[in-house]
């Protein structure tokens, strides 16, 4: 048939070891395809292969066999008749003896036994015969890694799926497996090997049966691997991680109880070894094994385990962390230690498994008894000896575990140990009852040790009850009866007296104790209402009085918070009630009361923390706070303190409460109300100049206003803006309806502080508005803003910017006719005539121009010789520009033109008719330096991301990639101007401005232009080194450079300028004013060292000499960079000399 020739070709190319792997695979696939398409029968293939299979050339033979095997692997979905399978099995199992061809044999067998029954699978007897021949012929450990892997896979599969058929092999099987595994080192193989052992154990489960007699031998193989320890960290290419391997080994260990006599002693012994991982593993294994082997097998070891557990705890349990930073509920916090964790969970396991035995061990333990008996002597933490502390801590943990693990164990420890300690401290069961009704015990001596253990016990059973639903257990009764005592005990630790202020641990114990008491679930352990309230009282008294004790105070506040959120969470109405009345209300009272000494900042903090316990409380508190704010606002003029108070409250409101509320989803109406109320107040409280003499309060209000408005919906915003507007129009002298004609109150730049205040507040509303919100009398406002911004009121400028940024433009149709469009607004801004009356009164003039009028942009260009006016104009314009830039409006072009005009304007001849009053000093008809500095700053405003306006938080329209666009439009202009600028001053101004632009532009854009930019960029750098003030721009710009250097196509651009750049950077490596600059400069040099050596070699010595100094830089970070850099440059080219 036609195929044969073709087939032989395929076979040849597969068998031919010289042909490339890809070829071999290809031909293999081809053959497989032939079979799948029934163009070739397996039988025919075998016939075709015969000469290869029998060749004496081992290479050919093995390839041949492998081919057959691989084919089989690939056709595992094609059904074969049992006869064929059988004879194939016969063949491959025989081949196992042929050690040259063993690979093929293994692959073949694997392929066969993995077949599913539907496509015809191997019979049990076949499986068995394979196993037999495997055991008879293969010395696994003499094989290569890959073949070993195959062997283990084969064995593993057999044991998984053909158990019954091979079970009868018994000894042979066990021996064979042992032999195979012996001294295996490869992780992947071991994974399988360990699993094999596990299956083996499943195969012969009988604890007194076959495996039992070989247990020793089998285990001898496993033993050396424990604990698993890789000599090199396995990198990505090994798939087996240490932990997986360790886990598999563990399940092998635990696979059968017959290992118990060997495993447990081994583990106990390793547990005492010093190797960290050994300890951890031993503990883990012990846990798992004991659960697998079962209680009675473990019983005889329990004693030993227990004592080594204790030792482990003594050695590994660190100092407890007496701080409240960590989770509130669980027991005492210790530094994380894997060993300890494992040890404790082992203990827990043992208790679960064998409660009575463990409990008695614990209760009768000499250390435990020692501690509990001498408990009375541990009065102060610091007085306890180190050794005994260690014991105390360890025992504490043990009690914690035994309390939380099971009801019986919990009962037991309470009954014996807890009561015993109580006795030792002289609260006999009798007088406990006496204390039931919260009666205060005669002030007892504080006993740290006792309380410490109590906490562990309490938190233990607290966790127990969370899980269990059984109630009224012994321990509950005990607890219940002794709660009062405990309360007293804990409370008294915290007692602050003249002669005694509690130390850290004491505070911790006291607060924590009370907290836990308070946080027991009502239904399980009803601590008397009285006790609960006493606790709250106690805490509150601390809050109010002991604010001197920072630690104590903070701890208490935290505790209160936790209790609060707890009762909220589990809606324990009764407790919640008490909490409200005893904590929340109290706190709110505090606000209004000035008589209590608690510093206000702390009041606010407390307020916030308590509020955070739940929305309900938070809102209550917010009301209180609002109240406080306004009362204070109304009093700002009368007393100074209420001024600061107001500021603090506002800060707290806008930085803490508001965000929290928003995060926890809620209460917009409240926020609106707040904003509106501020406006209500604004009218009154601003009748006076005092509040605004220092900006603090105003800023606080503006901030609060912004955030409140910012987070509101359009509707609410409409409400607010209306309110604000009415206040603005009614309470100020601005007559908004004919702003056009008003001359501002006499005197040059005179707005009353009151009006300014309101105006600013209004501005902050505008800034925070959503685009859709309707702004009343927008024209009037525009005029007002223009004039006021000329007076240097920056927020107004920002507001104007935001307006323009959000107005709908004609192009995409303004919905309502009365809505002012962007275009109209721009027209107003740029074409409104501003008229100077002789007495320098400034007003907007609407009538036909009369020659003596100017527009905003003229002011920017300094027509009026009024530097202040000009600077204000420029600054204002910059915000307007920002607004437009963000939404990507062309107008920005004209605006930037104006700025650049200012920068270069010492070349400019006056083009605009002069205003009277400035005639006499024509030569001053130039942009003065201050104004021009503003112009450079303008570019900073344009490009930088503003915090307090025109950002997403305040709903700005931000066109994607606007920075990129702006940059690409500005770059050519700047480059041209810079190259043409003849005066030093304007050149440096231009550079500075451009520096701003560059440092705020995303790097990608810069990179495309790198070639053109680098020279300018370097000029900027040098210019900026002169003035310390510029160190931050300098850094920003340097980052741009380093960006270029580290980026691929940036480097190309760099090449021809390498010399200048390097020389420049060398100047920067010892820039004294900013470490980061030095660091970055050096990093740049490193990057440069990767340029073609021919170019940079000449500079080598120079660089190295410069870097050499940096090795002795005052800053470590710089030195480290220097080392790298030196290395990089020293390794350039031949010279290996040490110094240079």
């Amino acid at each position: 048939m036609a195929e044969t020739t073709q087939l032989t070709r395929h076979i040849e190319s597969y068998v031919d070891s010289s042909s490339t792997p890809s070829h071999q695979v290809a031909s293999l696939d081809a053959i497989v395809l032939l079979i799948k398409t029934n163009a070739l029968t397996l039988e025919a293939l075998v016939r075709e292969l015969d000469m290869y299979l029998t060749s004496t050339d081992t290479l050919i033979r093995s390839r041949g066999i492998l081919l057959l095997a691989e084919v089989l692997t690939r056709i595992n979905s094609i059904s074969l008749d049992s006869k064929t399978i059988h004879s194939l099995v016969g063949f491959f199992k025989e081949r196992m003896a042929d050690w040259k061809a063993v690979r093929g044999a293994l692959v073949g067998c694997l392929a066969l036994i993995r077949r599913k029954s539907v496509v015809g699978m191997v019979t049990g007897s076949d499986a068995k015969s394979i196993t037999q021949s495997f055991l008879q012929h293969l010395q696994v450990q003499s094989l290569g890694l890959y073949d070993r892997k195959l062997c283990f896979e084969l064995l593993d599969y057999l044991l998984e799926h053909h158990v019954d058929s091979i079970a009868s092999l018994e000894e042979d099987l066990i021996f064979g497996i042992c032999e195979a595994i012996d001294a295996e080192k490869d992780p992947e193989c071991l994974m399988l090997a360990f699993h094999i052992v596990e299956s083996l154990a499943r195969l012969y489960p009988d604890p007194s049966g076959l495996l039992a007699s070989f247990a020793r031998d089998v285990f001898d193989l496993l033993e050396p691997y424990f604990p698993i320890h890789f000599t090199h960290q396995t990198s990505g290419d090994t798939h087996v991680q240490r932990d997986d391997l360790s886990r598999t080994l563990m399940s092998a260990f635990a696979s059968t109880p017959v290992f118990e006599p060997f495993v447990i002693p081994l583990l106990l012994q390793k547990l005492s070894s010093s190797l960290h991982s050994a300890k951890i593993d031993s503990l883990q294994y012990l846990r798992v094994c004991s659960s697998k082997y079962g209680a009675e097998r473990i019983a005889k070891y329990t004693g030993a385990i227990w004592s080594s557990l204790k030792d482990t705890l003594y050695t590994y349990l660190g100092e407890p962390d007496f701080s409240f930073t960590l989770a509130p509920t669980d027991g005492i916090n210790f530094p994380k230690s894997e060993v300890v964790v494992e040890a404790l969970s082992l203990l827990q396991q043992l208790i679960v498994q064998n409660s009575s035995q463990l409990v008695s061990l614990i209760i009768d333990d000499e250390d435990v008894n020692f501690i509990t008996n001498s408990i009375a002597s541990y009065e102060m933490y610091d007085t306890i000896s180190v050794q005994e502390k260690k014991k105390l801590h360890a025992i504490g943990r043990i009690l914690y575990i035994s309390a939380k693990t099971s009801i019986p164990s919990c009962n037991a420890v309470f009954q014996s140990l807890f009561l015993r300690m109580m006795d030792k401290l002289g609260f006999s069961a009798s007088n406990i009852d006496g204390l039931q009704n919260g009666g205060i015990l005669a002030s007892q001596s504080v006993n740290f040790g006792f309380l410490y253990l109590c906490i562990e016990l309490l938190s233990g059973c607290r966790e127990l009850v969370i899980l269990s639903d059984e109630k009224r257990e012994t321990y509950c009764t005990i607890l219940h009866s002794s709660s009062a005592v405990l309360f007293n005990a804990f409370g008294s630790v915290l007692a602050v007296t003249a002669d005694r202020c509690p130390s850290h641990p004491d505070i911790y114990i006291g607060v924590k104790g009370l907290q836990i008491l308070a946080m027991f679930h009502l239904d399980v352990f009803p601590i008397p209402k009285s006790t609960f309230e006493n606790i709250l009282k106690k805490f509150m008294s601390i809050i109010i009085e002991d604010f001197g004790q920072t630690v104590l105070w903070n701890a208490t506040l935290k505790a209160l918070f936790h209790i609060g959120s707890f009762v909220q969470k589990f809606s324990e109405s009764e407790k919640a009630m008490s909490y409200r009345s005893f904590v929340v209300d109290k706190i709110m009272e505090m606000l209004s009361l000035d008589d209590i000494a608690l510093p206000f900042s702390l009041k606010v903090e407390a307020l916030y923390d308590i509020g955070m316990t739940g929305m309900k409380n938070m809102l209550t508190i917010l009301q209180a706070m609002e109240g406080a704010i306004f009362t204070n606002l109304s009093e700002v003029h009368s007393n100074l303190t209420s001024h600061e108070t107001a500021v603090q409250l506002l800060e707290c409101y806008s930085c803490k409460l508001l965000p929290w509320i928003l995060k926890n989803g809620g209460a917009e109406e409240f926020v609106v109300q707040f904003a509106v109320d501020i406006w209500n107040q604004a009218g009154n409280c601003m009748d006076f100049n005092s509040p605004f003499e220092d900006k603090g309060l105003l800023d606080a209000m503006m901030k609060a206003m912004k955030v409140s408005v910012g987070c509101c919906s359009v509707e609410s915003q409409n409400v607010t803006i209306q309110k604000a507007y009415s206040t603005l129009s009614s309470h100020t002298k601005f007559q908004l309806n004919d702003v056009g004609r008003l001359p501002l109150t006499s005197g040059k730049y005179d707005i009353s502080p009151r009006d300014e205040g309101i105006l600013l507040l209004f501005a902050s509303v505008i800034i925070a508005l959503r685009p859709k919100t309707h702004i009343p009398n927008i024209r009037g406002l525009l005029h007002l803003f223009i004039i006021t911004l000329l007076k240097g009121v920056v927020p107004v400028a920002q507001a104007l910017g935001s307006m323009l940024n959000k107005l709908t433009s004609k192009s995409n149709g303004a919905e309502k006719s009365d809505e002012l469009t962007l275009e109209e607004a721009l027209d107003i801004i740029f074409n409104t005539k501003i008229w100077f009356s002789s007495n320098n009164m400034l007003q907007i003039y609407n009538g036909s121009s009369n020659g003596s009028d100017i527009v905003l942009t003229d002011l920017c260009l300094g027509i009026t010789n009024d530097r202040l006016l000009q600077s204000n104009a420029i600054c204002g314009l910059s915000w307007i520009g920002k607004g437009l830039l963000l939404r990507g409006h062309e107008k920005i072009k004209d605006i930037t033109m104006i700025f650049t005009e200012c920068l270069i304007s010492d070349r400019r001849k006056t083009s605009v008719p002069l205003v009277e009053g400035s005639l006499e000093n024509t030569e001053k008809q130039k942009c003065d330096p201050l104004a021009r500095k503003c112009a450079t700053e303008a570019f900073h405003v344009l490009m930088s991301d503003a915090e307090d306006c025109l950002n997403r938080k305040f709903h700005a329209t931000v066109r994607p990639l606007y920075k990129q666009r702006f940059f690409s439009s500005m770059m050519p202009i700047f480059l041209q101007l810079i190259s043409r600028s003849d005066s030093l001053l304007s050149r440096s101004l231009l550079l500075r401005a451009f520096a701003h632009v560059m440092s705020d532009t995303p790097l990608i854009v810069i990179l495309n232009e790198a070639k053109k930019l680098i020279p300018v960029l370097l000029d900027c750098l040098f210019m900026l080194t002169e003035d310390i003030q510029d160190k931050d721009i300098l850094y920003g710009l340097l980052l741009v450079l380093s960006g270029m250097l580290t980026e691929k196509n940036g480097q190309e651009a760099v090449i021809e300028n390498a010399h200048i750049i390097i020389n420049g950077l060398i100047k920067l490596v010892d820039y004294p004013h900013k470490t980061l600059v030095r660091e970055t400069a050096i990093q740049c040099l490193v990057a440069l060292s990767e340029l073609p050596h021919v170019r940079i070699y000449p500079l080598r010595t120079q660089v190295l000499q410069a870097i050499f100094k940096c090795l002795d830089d005052t800053k470590r970070s710089v030195r480290n960079e220097a080392v790298k850099c030196r290395q990089a440059w020293a390794s350039i080219a031949s010279s290996r000399s040490l110094r240079f």
Binding site: T1101, S1137, L1138, R1139, F1140
Partner: protein
């Protein structure tokens, strides 16, 4: 006594790596011939420095390069001042002749297996000695026409040999080594039969670590050595050179100066005027003189003055110029050479 001070006359920069050694040209500095010295460095070059008679400042007159392929470790002028021998880590020793201000390499001495570390001319300028890490010391005889013929190869040191010096008047050779010993070599009966006639080692309270350098006083009856053991040792002998009948007058330890330098002392040199200078890895230079206010068991040599931080890094070599008002030159790892004047 008057306050002496070591004044820095000039700091010479030019070498681009550590300067290992230098040598004043004996034929200069008198009769109106300006002072000249040669320096050699890890930068594989030798530089010739000449003093300007009017300004008294030194400037580099010539740079000898592209002959040695590795560090030039030491250099030595022949007594006539005509020839300059330079020893290099490249296992060769080069001989340079000054032809009208131009220096040309007239001969290369090969034979050492590896780094040549020191070279020295005998008083008459007829013999040249070199030593190397290969533990051997070679003696060469100057033949007519700048030919150099190996007279003898001396094997005796068990470690690399750091320095060789000829006795200022006699044909006796001294070598000091990493093996802590100083060996004295003499030709017993003039049949090229050079033998080690004395070994000054720990047994004869010699040094306990590498001996880096040695130097003789003017009359040649005293020798000072310096070492990694942070000490300087002075040695003396009754009769200079060989006695009648070929007997050899052995050298003996006179005194040990300790506690002056706290890092390896690399160099020591004895001026005609009897002051010897030491330079060490502690960046300091120290001057010592014989202690003539001779109270009983007072120190035989006393510290004349110390110059801390004479250089920024290790000082590898110090040498006094010839003539009665000598200048001191020092060579350092910091790549510079400094010229000092001892003024009061």
């Amino acid at each position: 006594m008057e306050r002496l001070e070591l004044k820095e006359v000039q700091k010479l920069e030019g070498h681009t790596d550590r300067v290992w050694s230098l040598d004043w040209n004996p034929a200069t500095g008198h009769a109106g011939i300006p002072l000249v010295f040669a320096s050699c460095s890890g930068d594989k070059t030798v530089r010739i420095w000449e003093q300007n008679l009017s300004t008294n400042l030194f400037s580099c007159k010539a740079t000898l390069e592209e002959t040695h392929t590795r560090t030039v470790r030491s250099c030595a002028w022949s007594p006539s001042g005509k020839l300059l021998a330079t020893a290099s880590f490249d296992a060769t020793t080069a001989i340079w002749e000054n032809v009208g201000g131009e220096f040309e390499c007239v001969s290369t001495l090969e034979g050492h297996e590896n780094e040549v570390k020191s070279v020295s001319w005998n008083a008459s300028g007829t013999l040249l000695a070199t030593c190397s890490r290969d533990k051997s010391v070679w003696i060469w005889e100057v033949q007519p026409g700048n030919e150099f013929e190996c007279v003898s190869v001396l094997q005796g040191h068990t470690q690399d040999v750091k320095m060789v010096r000829w006795h200022p008047t006699e044909d006796i050779l001294f070598s000091c080594s990493y093996d802590n010993n100083i060996k004295v070599w003499a030709d017993e009966g003039d049949s090229d039969d050079w033998q080690c006639v004395q070994t000054l080692g720990e047994p004869n309270n010699g040094h306990t670590s590498t001996v880096w350098a040695l130097s003789f006083n003017a009359s040649g009856d005293k020798m000072v050595t310096c070492s990694d053991d942070l000490t300087l040792k002075v040695w003396e002998t009754e009769h200079v050179g060989m006695q009648s009948g070929g007997g050899f007058a052995p050298w003996r330890h006179v005194c040990t100066l300790t506690g002056y330098h706290d890092r390896t002392i690399f160099s020591v040199h004895w001026s005609r005027g009897g002051i010897f200078a030491s330079g060490a890895a502690d960046d300091a230079i120290r001057l010592f003189v014989e202690n003539n206010e001779s109270q009983v068991d007072g120190p035989l040599y006393k510290l004349l003055l110390k110059k801390e931080k004479a250089h920024d890094m290790d000082i590898n070599y110090v040498q006094w110029s010839h003539g009665e008002k000598p200048l001191l030159a020092s060579a350092s790892d910091d790549g510079t050479i400094k010229v000092w004047d001892l003024v009061s």
